[in-house]
């Protein structure tokens, strides 16, 4: 049986069917329906459009009510006089020409609407181009940091096959790059690490490592998406898979009490969150168009290693201002595994960790925090010099890296230093803290939570 392809139909009252049957065009379906209910019930059906009901004289109101009840308030009711059926044709033609007129008018409206929307689209494009030009003049900003969980000094080591899932409290849309803190990851080496962002729809978006070089110096490793994520606003999470042969040190960020944001996977504590930076593209920029490998060769062969204070010799107070009359100290806090340096109101206080094997050290960075919620703002710096090269009366300031200025209470940062003197074997690490304001030094605890060192020679575990 073939389907009737005709779309428009009429209900026909059997009382007048005979009178108008020969007048109805064959393109219309005519269904006999009695108002007494002894024939087919008028009912809406998918894909079918009922134009009118042709009914006997004086039956119009009954039919109207009946059609309304069945959700067909739009179906016209035409009373047909069996003696003059040609009048029905006239009304039917009027009905059809009215619809035709309406649709032609709406077609015109639609064309006008299309033209209007095209014009608006053109205008938007022009204005967007102007904004883009302005952005170029501002130095071509393309990404903005949307999330920053700084490393806390805690390290988890992955080995064998491991997967970590980290929920990200961001809308997935426009995410374009992501940095992990992998303090011991040598550059340009395939460790079997793959990263992807899984959005709420369950789609995985793979990231690839960007060999920018600069990130590696600080321990941050950047991973890029092919393009910023598009679509509707939605939640997302990061999946980190490690299938390498060795071990991978992954830096942890702030501890989270909210279980839904704790990193889940092998070796994770129940409140670990990854150290993480997430970058979003500005206004649809795609970043970068190709991986950078500018500095790749210069660092080939270097080894990065994270050293916790527990693995280092005990610190000693090295220098304090001559005029200092307040209490200053340098100490190792075992419970928190940190080196604490307590500065003076009169100036910077420097501690030293002596005689650390750092053969051919090229870079050292320290994770620093201000330990007390009521502490004043602190300045902090790390430095390094060949072991014993700076005596107690020496100018320790010359071996320090740039100062991190004005770190607030509970603030986290990294201090860096590139050795000014070549270090062949053992080195002294200098830790300096000063107050950023002229206030009493109460509670001004500068904490050094760990050190990332990059050396040309591989460190022997026994050395540290």
């Amino acid at each position: 049986m073939t389907m009737d392809s005709r779309r428009f139909g009429l209900f026909v009252d059997p009382d007048i069917a005979g009178a108008c049957q020969h007048l109805l065009p064959p393109a219309l379906i005519a269904v006999p329906v009695s108002s007494e209910g002894n024939s087919v019930e008028p009912a809406p059906a998918p894909g079918r459009a009922w134009l009118a009901a042709l009914v006997g004289p004086a039956k119009g109101s009954v039919w109207r009510a009946r059609l309304n009840e069945r959700g067909m308030a739009n179906v016209a009711v035409i009373e047909v006089d069996p003696a003059r059926p040609e009048h029905m044709c006239q009304e039917l033609l009027t009905l059809l020409t009215t619809r035709l007129d309406t649709y032609e008018q709406e077609m015109g409206e639609t064309r006008l609407a299309s033209a209007t929307l095209r014009r608006e689209n053109h205008s938007d494009k022009t204005r967007f181009r102007e904004i883009e030009s302005f952005l170029y003049s501002l130095g071509n900003p393309q990404i903005a940091r949307s999330l920053s969980w700084e490393p806390s000094g805690a390290i988890r080591r992955l080995s064998g096959e491991a997967t970590i899932v980290q929920n990200i409290p961001l809308n997935a849309v426009s995410i374009t790059a992501l940095d992990l803190w992998l303090p011991e990851m040598p550059r340009n080496r395939d460790l079997g690490l793959s990263l992807s962002i899984i959005d709420a729809a369950g789609t995985a978006h793979e990231l690839t490592e960007a060999y920018t070089g600069e990130e590696t110096r600080g321990g941050w490793v950047r991973f890029l998406l092919d393009a910023p994520l598009k679509g509707d606003a939605r939640n997302c999470s990061l999946v980190l898979r490690f299938t390498g042969n060795g071990t991978l040190a992954v830096g942890m960020g702030p501890r989270t009490p909210d279980r839904s944001f704790a990193a889940r996977g092998d070796g994770m504590e129940e409140d670990d969150a990854l150290a993480l930076r997430v970058w979003k593209a500005i206004a649809g920029a795609t970043l970068p168009e190709e991986p950078l490998a500018l500095l790749a060769s210069s660092n080939t062969g270097s080894h990065a290693r994270f050293l916790s204070p527990a693995s280092l010799p005990a610190p000693q107070l090295f220098a304090k201002p001559a005029s200092a009359s307040d209490y200053v100290t340098a100490d190792y806090w075992e419970n928190e595994d940190v080196v604490m340096v307590h500065p003076s109101r009169s100036g910077a206080v420097c501690a030293v960790i002596r005689d650390v094997p750092l053969p051919r050290l090229s870079h050292i960075s320290a994770i620093v925090t201000v330990g007390h919620p009521q502490a004043p703002n602190l300045n902090m710096a790390v430095g390094v010099a060949p072991a014993g090269s700076i005596g107690r009366d020496g100018l320790w300031q010359t071996c320090m890296g740039p100062w991190v200025h004005g770190l607030p209470a509970l603030g986290w940062a990294q201090a860096h230093c590139v050795p000014t003197s070549r270090i062949n074997g053992r080195a002294d690490i200098f830790l300096a803290v000063s107050l950023a304001q002229d206030v009493p030094n109460d509670l001004s605890w500068g904490l050094f939570r760990g050190f990332r060192v990059v050396t040309a020679d591989l460190l022997d575990d026994a050395d540290t």
Partner: protein
């Protein structure tokens, strides 16, 4: 072919007033039709005023063929249009799996069809899926709950109507309420579904884009919020009642963290008899997680730091519930973040409570600290301040209260004080390793209408006008009955309440005692034994009797502010409340009754003023006749009086008094044998007055009688047992030398012993109900001589089981009767025997009431019944 692609979803769009935006909605569906999950679109033209809507639909009809079905109907409102669409969808496609409701000015998200298929196939247990609130127009992204939570749904609608609804929900007959044309019809829809045990979950992925405008039907609904909420509360009384909401709260949102001892042992609870053990680290994490994201993480609203042994002591004394309720009330109704508590030994043998004790120079046994207050302390105070918390007085604004119990207090002179426990807890929080999380944003979505978890404690309060909700969970298979008294001090009313409670307990009811005043609870062990818990609402003005008068009887001025609401919160979990003379309770009786609590008033006594004007509790009860389902009277006479004064007959049941303390039948038989025949004894007559030494009891008359008896019967033993409680005579009375004053006689054994050593009980009261002392004396074979008052004739048949003398010149008549009995020991013996034989039991007295309750109360629900289909993990997590 995957399971997801086999799913069949129909989208229903009700259309009115958006002829152009409708194109966007239909266009968004059309894009998804190709995916195969969404197979049909049904549009209901809800009598749209624009012909353009019909033209647009005709055009789409031509384009989409039988994948679109359009119905045109007279305007009947959004609910009716949706229902019509649902009915049509179910009729047209018998193999339909689910329906998605899309408003005409919203759009499906790209990929919505496959996402719906995946949801339907992955989460088979979920009955509907609600999309995230992702708006366009006015941009915004709001938080949605991952799992449908009935407690939160009671507070605010968690699910938009634009949801994916499984067929089984619709087959169960769930439809939109067509009378709700002002909004919140979707809220009602999900409540209907929840009532039938269905539950939803968040789609957690884009399904729909919601057009948000500055003004919408929803914003209009918010303007009518109060009216619409009232409608929902009436319609869904199955949910909006205190026991149900407290039960839901207890499932997922513990209200109290009890931190005990120096080791800071932690348990979490709503009802202290159902505690979930935890530890300090778990609690610390809960608090920090809550502070980091209060919309995602719950923490108990109150931290109660307790010295070791305090909680166990309070639990043994049945006071733990009232302790926590009063802690919460004091914190909420004061401006202090914390309240101190002291537990002391009572010298009087009573349970005592004292409020407004300030911030004294002594170490507290417990401290209640609100979560909000804790957050303020962590934010505003430094560690130095916290370290000072073990100093006295505490270095902050606070108040305190005291409970005194007659039992031995827990030993622990060296144990850590509550302040020390709190101090170490606060320092631990201040140094928490998770504190750095507070500087991060943990959600990119705005709260929108999401319920912050610190509001969960307030949701049950919504069922009782904002009153503090008693932390009491229903016990499976048991109805709860609360006895409310203004004082509980071994009077007749108290004994009757205790006796009634004892009988009801035998029938399986769980009983609770509520004292609405700050008066001590003076009770013998047997009187408190039937009660599972004992409570105070310690408002001093609940007894001030200085309010408006009704028929010459004053009410208390009590009831201002949140006092009434708090009493509702205290009693709202009861199935039945029996009011034994608490005038304060009258003020909220009608509201409680409207909340489904069966309200019973129990009247005992018509009082009489100096000038003979009747007044007292029965008069006041008449003012609140409408607020009670039933009135109990202590006598037939009082039942008649209540009926005569307007209480309908079928609202009256007499529970005629029986002896006020329990005695076994065997003991009664033994007593009868011991008493023997006084005729043979010829011993001096032993006359006793037993009762309160108040003016009401006719103390001056008693003085006259005793003096006359001393003249005529110099060897007679004249005894007075009792003490003044309400109102002394006001002048010194003269008593014959041989009068023995025993003071109050406590305990059934002492009373029985006293009565067995008594021949005649004399009671020359000005007014009485049906005195228990008479009934107790008769049970022990004591002949009673009483004045004509109240319902004494229901206990004493004059000349047969005692003597009833007229009020006028009662002293003379009473002396005559006593002298007659002294002369005629045979008569005394006859009366003694007849009185002992006629005594009734409480079992007999309460039969009619117990039958009424059995008929009136529904079958109690079992524990497993009515559980929501989803259970949350919060308690599991902390445990």
């Amino acid at each position: 072919m995957t399971k997801a692609s086999l799913q069949h979803v129909t989208v229903v769009i009700p259309a009115k007033g958006h002829p152009v935006l409708l194109d966007d909605a239909i266009g968004s569906v059309e894009r998804e039709l190709e995916g195969g999950v969404i197979r049909r679109l049904i549009v209901i033209d809800d009598g749209c005023q624009f012909a353009e809507t019909r033209h647009a639909l005709s055009a789409w009809q031509a384009l989409l063929g039988d994948r679109l079905m359009v119905l045109h109907t007279k305007n009947g409102g959004l609910s009716r249009a949706r229902n019509l669409g649902i009915e049509t969808a179910l009729r047209v496609d018998p193999d339909l799996d689910a329906i998605f409701l899309l408003d005409a000015d919203n759009m499906l998200a790209d990929g919505a069809g496959p996402a719906m298929g995946q949801l339907l196939s992955t989460f088979q247990d979920a009955d509907w899926f609600y999309p995230e609130f992702d708006f366009f127009g006015q941009n915004g992204h709001y938080i949605t709950e991952e799992h449908f939570d009935l407690l939160l749904q009671a507070e605010a609608n968690q699910c938009d109507a634009g949801s994916l609804i499984r067929r089984r929900v619709l087959d169960a007959g769930i439809r939109f309420d067509e009378t709700m044309r002002q909004g919140y019809e979707d809220w009602d829809f999900w409540l209907q579904a929840a009532q039938q045990g269905f539950s939803g979950r968040s789609a957690r992925r884009p399904l729909m884009q919601y057009r948000k405008r500055p003004v919408s039907m929803l914003s209009h609904s918010h303007e009518m919020d109060g009216d619409l909420r009232r409608y929902l509360r009436r319609k869904h009384a199955w949910l909006f009642n205190l026991p149900r909401l407290v039960a839901l709260e207890a499932e997922s949102y513990p209200r109290f963290a009890l931190v005990e001892g120096e080791s800071r042992k932690v348990s979490l609870c709503v009802d202290p008899s159902v505690q979930a053990p935890s530890d300090w680290r778990g609690l610390e994490r809960m608090i920090m997680a809550h502070m980091a994201d209060p919309h995602a993480n719950h923490a108990p609203a109150y931290l109660v730091f307790l010295r070791d042994g305090i909680a166990a002591h309070l639990a043994d004394a049945k006071l733990m519930h009232t302790f926590l309720w009063n802690c919460e009330r004091r914190v909420e109704r004061s401006t202090n973040d914390m309240e101190l508590f002291f537990l002391e030994r009572s010298d009087s043998g009573a349970f005592e409570l004292q409020t407004e004790c300030g911030n004294p120079l002594r170490a507290a046994d417990a401290i209640c600290l609100s979560l909000a207050g804790l957050q303020r302390l962590l934010r505003d105070r430094d560690e130095d301040w916290m370290r000072d918390l073990d100093r006295l007085p505490l270095p902050c604004d606070t108040d305190s209260w005291v409970l005194r119990t007659p039992t031995r207090l827990p030993q622990g002179a060296g144990a850590a004080t509550a302040a020390e426990i709190m101090r170490s807890g606060l320092l631990s929080l201040a140094r928490s390793p998770w504190r750095s999380a507070l500087t991060q944003e943990w959600s990119w979505r705005s709260p929108g209408g999401a319920v912050s978890r610190d509001r969960t404690v307030q949701i049950p309060r919504g069922a009782v006008g904002g009153g503090i909700a008693l932390p009491l969970l229903k016990s499976a298979g048991q109805h709860d009955i609360g006895f409310v008294l203004p004082i509980f001090s071994i009077g007749g009313v108290e004994k009757v309440a205790a006796s009634l409670a004892r009988d009801l307990q035998q029938d399986g009811y769980r009983l609770h005692l509520f004292v609405v005043s700050d008066r001590p609870i003076q009770a013998e062990d047997w009187a408190l034994a039937p009660f599972a818990s004992v409570h105070w609402l310690p408002d001093a003005n609940a007894l001030d009797w200085s309010g408006e008068e009704y028929l010459g009887t004053a009410e208390p001025n009590w009831g201002s502010g949140m006092q009434g609401a708090d009493l509702m919160g205290l009693l709202g979990s009861m199935d039945v409340v029996i009011n034994a003379h608490s005038a304060a309770l009258h003020k909220v009786a009608d509201s409680l009754r409207r909340k489904g609590v069966v309200m019973i008033d129990h009247e005992h006594l018509l009082e009489s003023s100096t000038y003979g004007r009747g007044y007292g509790p029965p008069h006041l009860a008449l003012a609140y006749e409408h607020a009670y389902d039933l009135f109990l009277t202590c006598s037939d006479a009082l039942r008649t009086w209540m009926h005569a004064n307007g209480v309908p007959q079928n609202k009256l049941i007499p529970v005629v008094n029986a002896p006020g303390y329990p005695m076994s039948a065997a003991e009664q038989r033994c007593l009868a044998a011991v008493r023997g025949n006084p005729q043979g004894r010829k011993a001096p007559l032993r006359v006793l007055f037993l009762g309160r030494l108040d003016k009401q009891k006719g103390m001056r008359r008693l003085s006259t009688i005793y003096r006359a008896l001393a003249d005529h019967l110099p060897r007679a033993e004249l005894t007075i047992a009792g003490r003044a409680v309400v109102e002394e005579e006001g002048e010194a009375l003269a008593w014959p030398a041989q009068t023995r004053f025993l003071g109050p006689v406590h305990g059934p054994a002492a009373l029985t012993q006293l009565l067995t050593q008594t021949d005649i009980l004399v009671l020359p009261s000005h007014f009485e109900g049906l005195p228990l002392s008479v009934l107790e004396a008769q049970r022990c074979g004591v002949a009673v001589v009483v004045t004509e008052t109240g319902a004494v004739r229901e206990a004493v048949e004059d000349g047969m089981t005692g003597f009833v003398v007229p009020q006028a010149e009662c002293e003379r008549t009473m002396v005559e009767r006593i002298l007659m009995l002294d002369r005629d020991r045979e008569l005394l013996a006859r009366i003694s025997t007849a009185a002992a034989e006629q005594v009734r039991t409480w079992r007999q007295s309460t039969q009619q009431l117990r039958d009424w309750l059995q008929h009136r109360l529904p079958e109690p629900t079992s524990a497993a019944e009515k559980q929501p289909r989803h259970l949350h993990m919060a308690l599991n997590e902390v445990s």
